[in-house]
């Protein structure tokens, strides 16, 4: 490896959003030819920080130095022309365009003199060259929507490296990839590293950062916690830096005797899952681990009557129920509730008040006449606002103005009000701060203590391993393993192995 030097220096960067300091006085440096892992819990401000570096979020305070020169990007294009590129966490491809057009969007090659036209041939040729150089076997002229998610991810990577590159930011690039795909991604990252690019790599996976990273910087609650050389640190140190407290207290559970089977699926098969047979007992939290796209959410939505099923049975408290994609309403009435993973799109009416967000699932039950009694609604809402300790006492506040954690509490309150027996929680703590997390964990513990059953879908391994009584691992639409607390190895590594489909110790 060539001699490394400081490439990018961040000095006291801050970013303020209404009511929150998303990034608070962060300083560190990125060297050339290093993979600098940025880690922290969801909501720690990593994504906001890198978006500032990439020119997407304007910098509110602080300075940036690129190769020693003062540089604050005006916008994305400015950052790109200075060699700072970013691959986003969510795929943002134009699915109806070709691979080449995606790679060259924003700086298309032109031909002709007075009247310039797109040089599609050059675009295809150069894209193909870049794809080949990085060993990605894709035809540059193929339509993007025809590629698998993994391949699209590779295209994004090629796109980010296509302009002159000094700093490359990768925001959780492996979150939807399988093990072999991750390998080929790593190979590309190593190639880029060798060529002297400084890589900022956001990840949640411990093994990844120790395999690929040179240095690790930890962020917590928007603040810089510290930077460690990979060879001088270990997992325990990084985790304690991330969490800032003992994991044991965070996942404090009172384990209950399991009761009757509340929910059972038998050989449930739908569009993205096959032969899924699971059980949820009264008094237990069942974790569901798996990669994005493994089919967990699809199973949940099928149980909730949102998506159709092709075959198989759903049994609630001993009685078969037939919803088949027709009626979440019926599911709610039968005592099943589902907290969707994306609270902003699916879980909440962001422009409505807290009170109007809490009540909808039970409107008919509380007001059978169909006429809404505003006063009663307000009373109920306020009771739940208090119960959930939402950071405001005013149930008339607009939900969109609350912080992520408080929004999630409101979304949860809606389902508590249905007094369901089975709660399906899809990523219940995504993107919320540690305090709210602890409260939600405590609430889940209380719910199962009162005899409910919880099916928790989560991509946060520590959550799944720390909280569950039992874990189902899903891989490519099938349940690839089942683990029991106290019997099986509940370590993150073991669960990860099973959910990646590379063999399980319990089938």
């Amino acid at each position: 490896m060539e001699e490394t030097r400081d490439l990018l220096e961040l000095k006291n960067l801050s970013k303020f959003f209404p009511g929150v300091v998303a990034v608070d006085d962060v300083s560190f440096t990125v060297r050339s030819g290093e993979v600098h892992v940025l880690i922290g819990e969801n909501g720690a401000g990593k994504s906001t920080l890198v978006k500032m570096i990439a020119g997407i979020n304007p910098i509110d305070k602080g300075e940036m130095y690129l190769e020693g020169d003062h540089f604050v990007p005006d916008d994305v294009v400015d950052a790109q022309t200075h060699g700072i590129n970013m691959v986003h966490q969510e795929l943002s491809m134009m699915s109806n365009r070709t691979v080449a057009q995606n790679i060259f969007i924003g700086r298309e090659p032109m031909k002709g003199g007075l009247i310039k036209s797109l040089d599609i041939k050059k675009m295809n040729e150069e894209s193909q060259k870049m794809l080949n150089e990085l060993g990605v076997k894709i035809d540059a002229s193929s339509k993007t929507s025809d590629l698998s998610i993994a391949m699209q991810q590779m295209v994004e990577l090629v796109k980010a490296t296509s302009s002159q590159n000094k700093i490359l930011i990768l925001d959780e690039p492996t979150s939807s990839l399988t093990a072999p795909e991750i390998k080929s991604l790593f190979a590309i990252v190593r190639k880029l590293k060798k060529s002297g690019v400084g890589i900022i790599y956001i990840s949640h996976r411990m093994n990844e950062m120790f395999e690929l990273g040179d240095r690790i910087t930890v962020m917590r609650d928007g603040k810089y916690v510290g930077t460690r050389e990979v060879k001088n640190t270990n997992e325990e140190e990084i985790i304690s830096m991330m969490i800032g407290r003992n994991i044991g207290t965070l996942f404090d559970r009172t384990y209950n005797e399991c009761g009757e089977v509340l929910l059972e699926t038998k050989e449930l098969t739908g569009l993205r899952f096959k032969n899924v047979s699971i059980k949820v007992h009264s008094g237990e939290i069942v974790g569901m681990a798996g990669l994005v796209g493994a089919g967990r959410t699809e199973v949940a939505k099928a149980i909730f009557g949102y998506d159709p099923i092709d075959s198989g049975r759903i049994i609630k408290s001993g009685r078969e129920i037939k919803l088949n994609g027709h009626s979440p309403r019926k599911a709610i009435d039968l005592g099943i509730s589902y907290l969707p993973e994306d609270r902003k799109q699916e879980g909440l009416f962001l422009d409505f008040t807290i009170s109007d967000n809490i009540i909808p699932a039970v409107l008919g039950r509380i007001f059978p006449s169909g006429i809404v009694n505003q006063k009663k609604q307000k009373e109920i809402a306020e009771e739940y606002v208090k119960k959930m300790s939402v950071a405001t006492t005013d149930s008339g506040k607009i939900v969109g103005s609350l912080s992520g954690g408080n929004q999630q509490k409101v979304a949860l309150a809606k389902w508590l009000l249905t007094q369901a027996e089975v709660f399906i929680f899809d990523e219940p703590t995504r993107g919320i701060d540690i305090g709210a997390k602890a409260e939600i964990y405590a609430l889940m513990d209380e719910l199962v203590g009162n005899g409910a059953g919880i099916l928790m879908i989560s991509s946060e391994m520590n959550e799944v391993c720390g909280l569950s009584d039992r874990i189902y691992a899903m891989h490519d639409g099938v349940v690839s393993g089942e683990l029991f607390r106290g019997i099986d190895d509940f370590s993150e590594d073991n669960v990860l192995t099973i959910m990646l489909g590379s063999g399980g110790n319990h089938e």
């Binding site: 986003h88 699915s95 109806n96 057009q101 969007i105 036209s117 998610i149 639409g477």
Partner: protein
């Protein structure tokens, strides 16, 4: 057998409808496929296809320009009034008339583009507003009356003949060729697709979303102005009802041509087909003696049928490809 099946399924609903239409009218309407009648169809397509060219750009963005009919009307009306000022018309007058017509179109396009592209107002509200302004102004300046009987030199723009082909068809063909270039071969065209496909992605890739959106509306306005010239010269009359319903026909042409209403998919080549389709259908129905009103109803039915066919077809396809992706192990 399977290949035949796949081939049949790959043909969009509009093409089937077009084939059926041709066959039906070839038998039902005498002289439908005669050279003269085909020229007739193309003539009545000329203004529509130009109008639909601008509409294609806006729909590719995932939006709609409802104002084009109103803009066409006011542009044609003011131009008509200008021409009526003179006893005899010179070439210079015609140039000025063209300029007026296009300038009015562009002015409305600028307004739409400014409000929607730069100030991010809702496109429905803005273009409904400018549509109302267009029709209203036309009524106001004419007092509700109709202007007609323009100079033959001006009317040559649409009714002249070059190599035996009506000039309006030639102009429309030239404009179509330019728009095809803009649509498929320029940065602007590609960026319109990009925004319609994924605005966030376009923005993050450094596409100037505001500017691109702005110019799409300006182009749509300009096309309305050009369509106004062709229509004015062809029909030899102008008034507040000249462009009535044209926005709907333009949208219909775009949709029949296979451009998706949510943007990012399709293109102007399909729109040309869609515009000819509409004219051909109206012409055929006229020949078999169906009134204007019933033509309107049938056009609606045909559009719904085409969309239904394509939606069902693509749903089946999507489901299959999803299964394929899934069985590949995602």
């Amino acid at each position: 057998m399977n290949r035949v099946k796949r081939l049949i399924k790959s043909v969009p609903g509009s093409t089937w409808a077009g084939i059926l239409l041709m066959v039906f009218f070839a038998f039902a309407a005498k002289g439908y496929l005669s050279e003269r009648n085909i020229m007739n169809i193309l003539q009545s397509t000329s203004a529509l296809v130009v109008l639909a060219a601008g509409m294609t750009m806006v729909i590719l963005l995932g939006e709609i320009d409802m104002s084009v009919g109103g803009v066409l009307t006011i542009a044609a009306t003011v131009t008509g009034m200008y021409l009526k000022l003179y006893e005899t018309i010179t070439v210079a007058n015609i140039m000025i008339a063209l300029l007026i017509c296009c300038a009015i179109g562009v002015a409305f396009g600028l307004l739409n583009g400014l409000l929607i592209g730069y100030m991010r107002f809702n496109f429905w509200l803005v273009t409904f507003g400018t549509m109302s302004m267009g029709f209203g102004l036309a009524k106001g300046v004419t007092g509700g009356g109709v202007l007609s009987g323009f100079d033959t030199m001006f009317r040559w723009i649409s009714t002249g003949r070059v190599f035996g082909i009506r000039t309006c068809i030639i102009w429309a063909a030239i404009i179509c060729a330019i728009v095809i270039f803009v649509n498929y071969k320029t940065k602007f065209g590609l960026h319109i697709y990009a925004i319609g496909d994924s605005e966030i992605c376009a923005q993050n890739s450094g596409v100037n979303v505001k500017k691109t959106r702005f110019f799409a509306y300006v182009l749509s306005g300009l096309m309305a102005g050009l369509a106004a010239v062709l229509l004015l010269a062809r029909t030899n009359s102008a008034g507040a009802t000249l462009g009535e319903g044209y926005e709907f026909n333009a949208i219909a042409a775009v949709v029949i041509g296979g451009t998706a209403m949510d943007g990012g998919k399709g293109g102007f080549k399909g729109t040309i087909f869609g515009a000819i389709f509409i004219s051909a259908m109206k012409n055929g129905l006229q020949l078999v003696g169906l009134s204007n009103y019933w033509q309107q109803v049938l056009l609606g039915v045909v559009i719904l049928a085409i969309i239904l066919y394509d939606v069902i077809n693509s749903k089946i396809r999507d489901k299959k490809s999803l299964r394929r992706v899934y069985s590949d192990g995602i």
